[in-house]
Symmetry: C2
Subunit: 107 residues, 2 copies
């Protein structure tokens, strides 16, 4: 199982429109990507704090997609890449960190 993680840095003065992200971008993204048969699941989290209470979280938002393989994610994403990437500017001005991960433990 492969997890694609999209991490939005919580930088000073950065903009993140959570309403647009949750009500427009993610429903579109989930609708397009979950149509692929190898889509497994998706999660979205809002950063609350760092390890110390009240400290700022490193990431304002994290999003994780589970697919059976990198190839299947690429196949699901590429037909919609231009549309989804163009939409990012509508909710944030930060560049997300994206990485592919191998799931080793899930219980």
């Amino acid at each position: 199982m492969i997890k694609i993680s999209i991490l939005y840095p919580n930088t000073p003065n950065s903009r993140f429109d959570m309403a647009y992200y949750l009500e427009q971008h993610m429903p579109l993204s989930i609708s397009l990507l979950s149509a692929h048969p190898d889509f497994q699941s998706v999660s979205v989290e809002q950063g609350l704090s760092g390890v110390m209470p009240g400290s700022p979280p490193t990431y304002s938002v994290m999003c994780h997609f589970l697919f059976t393989s990198i190839e299947s994610f690429i196949a699901a994403f590429m037909p919609h890449a231009a549309q989804l990437q163009a939409d990012i500017a509508n909710y944030t001005d930060v560049e997300p960190i994206i990485q592919f991960n191998q799931v080793l433990v899930s219980q």
Copy 2:
């Protein structure tokens, strides 16, 4: 639902003993934390690459615990904090980024 994310930066020359982590640290950590009734799930992933094929991942390893609340995680973790934190030096020399997240989407 709350997700506690522990992200190990993939820095040049950093050390991460994956065998020790998977065979010693995580089984201990899961055994201790999952004993709490508010423990929900845990996942561990190994970074494969950044968004460009062959580029290094930002994080070598990510670990995520799901609990019903921050308070229940703290209650589960604090009795074992010293033991678990002392064990970190046995598998890595990087300081993990830890943050608390509110789960907004899970499907």
